[in-house]
Symmetry: C2
Subunit: 244 residues, 2 copies
């Protein structure tokens, strides 16, 4: 967990981990016009934070991010992407971690490795929140989805990290959707528009959206959806393997 906040008991003495570098993951969940984000609650200390962790001395940073997400949330096999390094000195504030340590009954001294300055590498992912069930592996932590407009006060700069992840996701969404594998293999233009509207947080004009999408060359029209009323059936599309 980043910055000496999220407190992983197995990393208590810091042996085998890189110093000063953490990972935080913003996992967005999408389903049926809702966008959520996955947060951990350190319930004893009443602190909310992004899932995060540290890098083993011989571990690739990207692998560490996947491991951390799997360990802290129970989510395996998701497409995580780096988006920014949060490295301002002002984010160094170890009081919340001390609160977590104290609430957990663990002793510490001021030289504890987690109480030093950390920079954090931000990762983000987009998943269907009905298909992934968070399961934190430490009983004292609660891990669950929060609506984007109901995010509690988070430790440190985690609110900023979420905002930056969201703008990264929104920017160039066309290229990202395919990688995130969020839609079923075949979908209607209305399905696609719903994804865009939910992630961008605004309504889009149907004909303009359709023209733009078809112009990108990333969609292949495959068949009409069978609805029983053939003349009203919308076309189905799928993503072509790679945009030109």
């Amino acid at each position: 967990m980043a910055d000496g906040y999220g407190y992983d008991k197995r990393a208590a003495d810091g042996k085998g981990f890189m110093r000063g570098i953490a990972i935080d993951a913003v996992i967005f969940g999408f389903h049926d016009r809702q966008l959520k984000v996955l947060l951990l609650e350190y319930s004893l200390a009443g602190i909310f934070a992004l899932p995060g962790g540290f890098i083993r001395e011989t571990e690739n940073v990207n692998d560490a991010a996947l491991r951390v997400v799997r360990e802290r949330t129970g989510l395996g096999d998701i497409f995580l992407d780096q988006f920014y390094v949060f490295g301002d000195y002002s984010r160094f504030d170890n009081r919340p971690l001390k609160a977590i340590m104290q609430a957990g009954g663990t002793g510490f001294d001021e030289k504890h490795w987690l109480l030093q300055r950390f920079i954090t590498v931000g990762y983000y992912a987009l998943v269907d929140f009905t298909k992934v069930v968070p399961a934190p592996d430490e009983e004292s932590d609660i891990c669950r989805w929060y609506d984007m407009d109901e995010i509690p006060t988070l430790i440190q700069d985690h609110q900023l990290i979420i905002a930056k992840a969201l703008s990264t996701l929104q920017d160039g969404l066309d290229k990202k959707l395919i990688g995130f594998n969020l839609l079923p293999d075949c979908f209607t233009m209305a399905d696609l528009q719903a994804v865009y509207e939910t992630i961008l947080g605004k309504k889009l004009q149907r004909t303009v959206f359709q023209r733009k999408m078809l112009g990108l060359g990333i969609l292949q029209r495959i068949a009409k959806k069978h609805t029983g009323r053939a003349h009203k059936a919308p076309y189905l599309y799928r993503f072509v393997s790679q945009p030109a």
Copy 2:
């Protein structure tokens, strides 16, 4: 300098710097259909590398990147942007740094802070190479522009860092050009197309390019360029403050 390769004598004992985290900067230079990249040569050791450095204990990471570029290249006031963290364990290979240290006549032991594993935060910039004159501040280093197709063998993963920086630059160039402030205030469509073609490394079809650019809503047409032959004069454009 990243990964214990670029050797900054003032950081010899590592006092006051964060451990294990470096910065590397890919500074692209553009002018008149040429794209170059700025490299340092450690001439005594015969090693080529990206300009890079370290982060002071109380310094923001982004500020450190600006300082490092200014110190190592003499370039001040450029728009640097983060693009990726290179954090694979496989990049940990301290032999080239030992060569630099030995060539420089400095002693070291295996526990030297620069000989440990580093991850590096990659930054990139795009400048007009006729307007910025590199001036390394350590006499043993040579700092100069290299054509993209004449890049010498670089230490470690610096070739990969350049490739990733280039693809980041190419991707969504529309939004980046304004920030990089590369074109004069007023320019022709042909000027703009030349920038795109040079950075993308391919020819673009004139009418398609023009239609796409005008469709982005980032250009304002201001006047015809005065050439003496009024009916042949191309339009001049400037960027509107922000794309919609």
